[in-house]
Symmetry: D3
Subunit: 325 residues, 6 copies
């Protein structure tokens, strides 16, 4: 029913205000986020229809996640609802140099991690879909989730749907070795691989220039496109962003300087922008939309995108830091 379908976990994100440490907090700001949800939301805001698949408990917190999903125009009809269980949490502490921002996960035993094969109606989910996107976080959640990811990719391909995969390595969830073993099976089926140099090194041991990393991943898994995002970490509150893509040839994006309000979700915003641009145009459009989306995402609090197509297009035209009246 939606043009782009994504699947994964979303969590409550609880963060103290005003650069307080977690241990100092007296209040938490509540956001909802999760890699594949963030991608679905970003794509919906740019104008393609999207759907997000997950498993949520039917309690106020599970409903809050679904509410925020549909607030962004993302279809929630394929979410699996559990009578019991919990929504995972991640605590986010925002820092400034030399104190980096940091995350504490409390996602064990979430309903999303308890998703098992057969629970999702893939027939319905992929009806009319052009692309299915999932990240490397989902198979890392549990054995069942790893199986569901396998199932989902097979079903997507069966229904003629392209597959995009963001490697997104999370060292807290599994070792590089475990990731390598699992992902090696999955990535062979995938059309688009998105990753960072860092993750490519952690999982596949690829210590190289980014062009070389892209080339090797292309050789290993034979996708149509390999995308590598490059984040320059200047300080905690300033950074840079650009990306490359390797397909028939190497595509190189523009670079953006960023005054960082909240670093989280930049990669997912990139993916949303890239997939939007790619599906509605080509790889060149993909990386240019991806780069703007990633840069803008870091200027607002929260994981989810709040940008419109018009705004992204305006930023493609060049920078203007004066107040917009």
């Amino acid at each position: 029913m939606a043009e782009v379908v994504t699947m994964g976990e979303a969590m409550l994100r609880l963060s103290p205000l005003g650069y307080r440490r977690l241990e100092q907090a007296d209040r938490f700001e509540i956001n909802v986020g999760g890699s594949e949800l963030n991608v679905a939301a970003g794509i919906s805001r740019l104008g393609l229809s999207s759907s997000w698949i997950s498993k949520l408990p039917n309690n106020p917190l599970g409903r809050m996640v679904a509410n925020k999903t549909r607030e962004h125009g993302v279809d929630t009809s394929q979410i699996v609802w559990a009578n019991e269980g919990r929504v995972g949490i991640y605590y986010l502490e925002l820092g400034s140099a030399p104190r980096a921002s940091s995350v504490i996960y409390d996602r064990g035993s979430s309903t999303a991690s308890e998703l098992t094969p057969g629970e999702v109606n893939w027939q319905m989910a992929f009806k009319g879909a052009k692309l299915f996107h999932v990240s490397g976080i989902t198979p890392a959640l549990s054995k069942g989730c790893a199986e569901v990811v396998g199932e989902s990719i097979r079903e997507a391909k069966n229904q003629g749907c392209r597959v995009s995969f963001d490697i997104n390595y999370r060292a807290k969830l599994w070792s590089g070795e475990e990731a390598r073993r699992c992902l090696s099976k999955l990535l062979g089926e995938v059309d688009i691989i998105i990753t960072t140099q860092f993750d490519a090194e952690e999982i596949f041991g690829l210590k190289d220039s980014y062009e070389e990393v892209a080339r090797k991943l292309k050789e290993m898994f034979n996708p149509s496109v390999v995308v590598i995002t490059l984040r320059e970490v200047k300080t905690v509150l300033t950074g840079g962003w650009r990306s490359i893509a390797l397909a028939d040839k190497l595509y190189t994006g523009k670079s953006y300087d960023i005054e960082i309000i909240d670093r989280v979700g930049a990669g997912d915003a990139y993916t949303a922008g890239f997939l939007y641009g790619y599906l509605s145009g080509d790889i060149e459009k993909g990386i240019s939309f991806g780069d703007v989306m990633a840069a803008l995402q870091q200027t607002i609090p929260g994981d989810l995108s709040w940008f419109s197509l018009k705004e992204v297009e305006k930023h493609l035209g060049g920078k203007d830091f004066r107040i917009q009246r």
Copy 2:
């Protein structure tokens, strides 16, 4: 090292502001609470030394719990620290008639629930202690916790320490039948039983006047004192409180009318007041301090007590609702 020792779980308590529903929340106010911690804090504020025993993860949230514990002057030296694990959470939604306040627990797999026999140094914990207090929540957390409660009561008795037990039935944690089976073994060792008519009925099937309930519990378990707290639920935002105690004779407290800000923790504040009064005086002093503490606790946000001995004593002298300058 402390005069009163308590043991149990404490959780982060996350609650929306301004009577918002959980599902509506954009911010959570953070408090820390747990039945036995609340009792220890209340006792410390009244002027007896107290100690709280639990198991906490050595992360910012575990430390936050310990920080708030010592903020109230409660000794934290006997807390068991885990390298991994989570702090339990409870979400509290405050209501107004006809919408009752409600709680959602997310306490599964907390470090506190994973406490096992042998982890606590009882020798050290009960050195110089006069009284050990625990509630019926702790044995309900896990099989290990139930064993630790048994262990703790035995050790307390061995070291010549009286034992107080608040039945505190939580239907989300176990059935009435399970509670009955477990508590029947424990309560025979206990000097002070504190409960409500409602819990006595749920667990022991005692449907009777409160005097009769007290009499039957005294017959069944032979404690020195049975205390029954009586909460008149007028509306969601107004209520009444009083208590009785049965020992050598029946003691009856005064009744208090309350404009409720936050109902949670009233029973624990009562217990703190009762134990303080009992230890520093007699049963009569116990119920009069308990009643004031329970009434006052409901006028402030949070589970933990913020009252001083002087204030409690002033309230014993009668009510005065004019502004105190």
Copy 3:
């Protein structure tokens, strides 16, 4: 596409915190509300699909209104988007006795008030719909809106859709005489009339017992059902609610006592509950669901409903003001 379709204006609702007067405010809490949107949201939460039709400017504030609409699961596909224009505002000041709560409207020239016949695709809007609901606020917004209401009711009837109408008189928008002239034409087409004694008197001069008012409205306009809601205004912060319905016979609901957090939106919550009960059952179910929805709505901040079917059903079973754990 939705079972229930509603049409009208929604505004930003800006209100100071902590019972501050508007003139005292340093911050506004932002909510989104509007009579027919509130109804659509309430119905969606209870489990029927609903759609809300309006005209919004394509700017951040217009999008915020649409976002909140879909956050509640209401279909937004029939909203008419304007390139220019404004979202109306209403400023809400919450009071306590003897200071009543009060509202200042700043809704002039809103895009919603500039809706004109021909802009909405009624064919699409009413596809598969069982019921169309609109209130007396919409025709009062402008001459164009009054025409659109006429158009919408005709189209609904043509497509075999029942029509519900909440009289909802707003003295700031038109005189009783103007309302009478306009509504007299519309109400003859309507299946369900919902009103208060007060509005019936202001517009139609019906000064009578509520049964008599219902009887007269039934005679005048011949709907299937006339519903009258009865709000006992005890103080500013306490009130009562009940309702009656006249169809084949007189139906009388139960009465609810309410500790009021926010009085606004109670009537719309009632309508949502009534329409849900009526469509999924009968008139008796309608008024019982309506009464609970109206009572609950007053216990939370905001115009929009945040209650689930399960919660409403539980309240039908009787009141329980104790904390729900």
Copy 4:
């Protein structure tokens, strides 16, 4: 230059949010208040010009007090500015039954308390003034302030200005005996005495019906009018208000039931209403305006009045607790 002139101390008022105890606070809401400033502000809002005299340090906090004074339209040109010194503070904790609201003063060594005779330009201050108002707090601040109050009353009388005096006994500042000695000298010069039964008893030992108290004060000091305000303290969050005045005859006001948001400043709001009504009409108008102002003041946070003449007049016409649209 102003019709009504008042003189006294104003303080920063720091109060925790959400019924937190002071000791629990993590944030303070800042208000500015002081008995005579409150009166001047209330009078200005009702439409008479007013001026407030005090001594403030020329630092951000002193300027904040002056800013809030002129925000209410009160003339600040006669304020005496000190190069050094502090603004006094009072900490306000709002309660609910059985916990009364309470105040902690930290007003020692404030610039206001260091005002000395000769610092104020009375010639300028009383130019065109009809009435000078001061309360019993001011002479209690320091020996210098007591002298300045004597000076001010003499100067006012010299310039043909009536004098109003609110006894306002503060036990933290002086004993009843000290107050009696000081006030006995001042009250003989005064045209209007405003007090409560409680203060009349504390200072002058008048234990009597309020009519009798009024009569005795009239005999003792021979003012034109004695006003007695009567506050029914029902609970902490509910109360009643009415007043009487004795001049040529006994005047009795209506009684108001109040849902209390903030009890502080009610007496000053009364005085503002009374003086406005009295100066623009007669005693009867005085007490009716005073009563409404006192009742309304308790429904908003802060000491200062935020009501308009039109609103007060509307409340004179009777109560209406429905939402005002």
Copy 5:
């Protein structure tokens, strides 16, 4: 009655907190601002008396604007009060690179824009005034406002009052061509023209070095002084500021580096500083005070100035970024 008189519109400024986008907002911080009000407030804070003329509705929001005006010590006696109407709003979203801050105006049909010739009592307004200031926003609001600006400048000149004009081009209100036609008539009467290179180009097509732009404007309209402010836009959160003035000779100010908290109101703060310096000294003092005021203004939230003469003078002496104790 005041030394400096200004006239124009002021709006409520509503802005989300914490760099949230407008569409993300759940709360708005409320400020009051408007170009000429900002100038009057800045001048008053520096120590010259000032008055602000506008038209406001007599409702809580209109009164809020007037309250904030007099909070800054600005005379409000010449404000024209309307029984009906609205206060304009502007929504401000604060950004970080590459997302610029942005403003959405909702100022249509404000009472200020409905000001017409004859409503203001110029005789009274200019009594004793040395200078009248208005900006190019005011004539852009409506035909009536343009006429009032003409009227005001004529009256000012008649009463011997100098006139200052800040060109302040707003593309949302009129085209460059419309602005040129209107302003060309007004600027011939003006003593001081303040503008930016950007506006000079948009309206008068002057693409030149800033000295040249100043020279041409001086030739075209023959004012005593032309002032050009130069804002270096480094990033969204950092910037630079300096200015030049052309009179008998070219004056060049110092340059300031700024860590920007809120960019809005910098130009008006400059104007306030310039006019203060100019009136109390000379052009050199004008630009040095203007530059400091503009730089400081960008370090605080809100349009209105909160700086004292002493602080500004201290900054003239050089920069010191250490904490001031």
Copy 6:
């Protein structure tokens, strides 16, 4: 009883939010801070036991200070409690360039400043202590405090406890000359002198390279170590930090670049880190821990440290600004 003992004043620190000026504030964030308390808290967090000595009023604000002290694990048993009196306040305004942050003290007549010889039980306080730390603020508070500092240093030495002294010159409390006279007597007894070049110049007239200043202080007072902290003030929101120590030889620390959230307390955090490192290792460890602690402290709001030993050690290993998951 504690390994490190400190003595001094702590104050409530009240600061506006969001870079507001003090005069603009509507709310204050409350923190507790004071040079020696900050040191004790930092040391406790790193893992040595510490105790803080002061004099506090037994009211909610005095208790709040003690609560926050023990929240950080600092022993409060040697605090002297006064029945009356006040807690000092400091108002902190956070700035951005060119507006520096600034502090207004309102600490006159605090109970801490009224401490007199004989009130502290030094025998108890220094039992088992390895080091006593005090700053130059304490003797500046009052004549009595200066005597108590003398007494404390003598007693410390008598009980075989080393003494550390942070010169910490406060120009608001005394002149450089007064400081010189007082400190010259005290510093001869001291083992560790910590200071800045600036203070060394203000008090002892030492205008030299920092190595030279250290050398001269070592000659003058003959301590084991002289530590000099060097703060590079780049802008208001960015800075650098490093330190040197002179003992047997010159030790030089690494330099840290800082994105400043709150500059206050950096020096005390340094001292905590230095003393921890020195006591648990050597001078080299002292300056490396001190530098990290000082840098980290500036990245969080509040005076008190919220860092753990593990975190500090991780920062010693080099910088990593990426998000820590």
